[in-house]
């Protein structure tokens, strides 16, 4: 994850509904929100923040196709070309017998490829920062909204008031 710098206003909410309703209100008022941190997923929050829909599904599909092709190629090459053998009176290349392993290989590649993509795209990995940077309670019971001051034209007081009006129970300043 990119290193943070500059000054942030941090709004702390105590309720998932409140923060969900606060986001469109604040955005309407012209506040540019960097991100909202929560202890559990809030449905619709990423859309409300205007995040684009994740494309990780496309990546997963590609990994699946790769897995399917790799495994099928391995079986057809070993059984049919590298060392052909007739087993049980069947053709050296008998596709129906390959279906179970093709399926398993597809699942394996999809799952691992997708999860690795997930880690990379979110910047997750061992050795990354050991603390949430805005409020430590974001993994417990608080919903934390971060607003980067340098990206906003509104004054600090205005944003702080807007945060309070939208239901934030605390507004803190965080300097990196």
């Amino acid at each position: 994850m990119a290193e943070l710098s500059g000054k942030y206003l941090v709004g702390v909410y105590d309720d998932d509904d409140t923060v969900l309703h606060a986001v469109p209100k604040l955005r309407k008022a012209g506040v540019k929100i960097k991100e909202v941190y929560s202890p559990f997923p809030i449905h619709g929050l990423d859309e409300a923040l205007g995040h684009p829909r994740t494309r990780i599904g496309i990546a997963a599909f590609m990994f699946g196709v790769t897995g399917c092709c790799c495994v099928l190629t391995l079986m057809i090459w070993t059984m049919g070309f590298d060392w052909p053998m007739i087993i049980g009176g069947k053709d050296p290349i008998s596709i129906p017998n390959y279906i179970p392993i093709t399926f398993e290989g597809t699942v394996l590649f999809t799952a691992f490829g997708m999860v690795i993509t997930f880690f990379i795209s979110n910047g997750l990995g061992p050795g990354t920062h050991f603390h949430p940077r805005f409020d430590v309670r974001a993994t417990d019971n608080k919903f934390v909204m971060a607003i980067e001051m340098s990206r906003n034209s509104m004054s600090e007081e205005e944003i702080a008031r807007a945060l309070k009006d939208s239901g934030a129970e605390e507004v803190n300043i965080k300097q990196f």
Binding site: P39, F40, P41, F119, V136
Partner: protein, 477 residues
Amino acid sequence: MHVTSPVREPLIQGGKTYADVTEDICRHVEATPTKEWKIAFGLSLIVLAYGSACLAWTWWEGLGVWGLNKTVGWAWDITNFVWWVGIGHAGTLISAILLLFRQKWRTSINRAAEAMTIFAVICAASFILMHMGRPWMAYWALPLPNAFGSLWVNFNSPLVWDVFAISTYFSVSLVFWYIGLIPDLATIRDRATSKVSKFMYGTFAMGWDGSAKTWARYEYISLILAGLSTPLVLSVHTIVSMDFATSVIPGWHTTIFPPYFVAGAIFSGFAMVQNLMLITRVVYKLEDYITLEHIETMNKVITLTGSVVGVAYITEFFIAWYGGVEYEYYAFFNRMTGPYWWAYWAMMTCNVISPQLFWSRKLRRNITFTFFISVVVNIGMWFERFVIIVTSLHRDYVPSSWSMFSPTRYDIGDYIFSFGLFFTLFLLFSKYLPVVNMAEVKAVLRSTSAQLPAKIAGVAKVRQRGTAEPVYNKDQE
């Protein structure tokens, strides 16, 4: 807007807040091990040590120390393997299939059930290694070039399919479980006071910060992983059943095996989840999270799958008679009335009759009774595999080859090994990792808890605050 029927009992009781959930679950992770835990852990280590000694002798001396003979070449080893793999099916069923079906009650038990799955699959895999006799040759099961000492593996063989199925199942379950753990590890990391635990949990939490973007992706990949795991879990026991069904042994060579094995796997897996959860909820005081409602729902699944298994037994028997194949007929008739009649009737009693008692609501909600039946079901399912494997083998086509199987102390010792391994791993898990998925429980808390009585979901709350109807549907799922 989300509307929860007020008729339903809340999933999480005791009016918990988000902070309460964190506190209730993290308490056990952060506290020093209790005396009971130490005793239980010590006992399972002793069991593991005894089992390991037996296993070491098995490998040192060779498979001759088992009770196998020329006719019965598979007995306890494969029985135990199938039994453990079967148990390992419930975790993925709970976390994947119930996720696809949007069954919110899964959130309280999915973590522990998945852990159980992973440990059960490890135990199952240990029997595969054991029955190879020469475990250092285990890599021969992998598709390696001929220079490694053998030809390519035979991809037409269900035993090779099994290698791929079990290893894929194990690794995908492990990934699914770990992805679910990351947010909770982050919670523990942020509460940790000691340097060591901060470092350990921090490393495994991988810098999780709970941003909306990460959560959106997390939910998306959870859904895809669930979608992948659902056919995967069904394929695993299907392929295990094909180890038998594709052979020409009377009693094994039946097309009914795949669905019958899958139902049996879910049946025994849920029974094992019941056993573990009933103990965990008392020891860790999780009665508000794993409620009678959860226990009753799992008992319903046990009754359903138990009935499927019962129907499969009867169908199998009917076809053996109606099919008119005399070998097939003899195999089944011999199961019922032959020298292993007691194993057959133990299986029938435990698997077909006992789960039917759960038609009574009173018994379904009785904790002691549930625990008892779950143990009975697991005994029954062990006998099912024993009956299928040993009774089908012990009567060969040539009567002079007929023989009996009786286990030696090493058969028993190696089975004990798997129990030692399972309970050691489960105890370590239940001490050092959160046994309930905190993030998922928090997500269902609002819509299901008794916390706000007037709240038929957020509607009442929004009105209270006087804000307009929200633009975004929260609980559209």
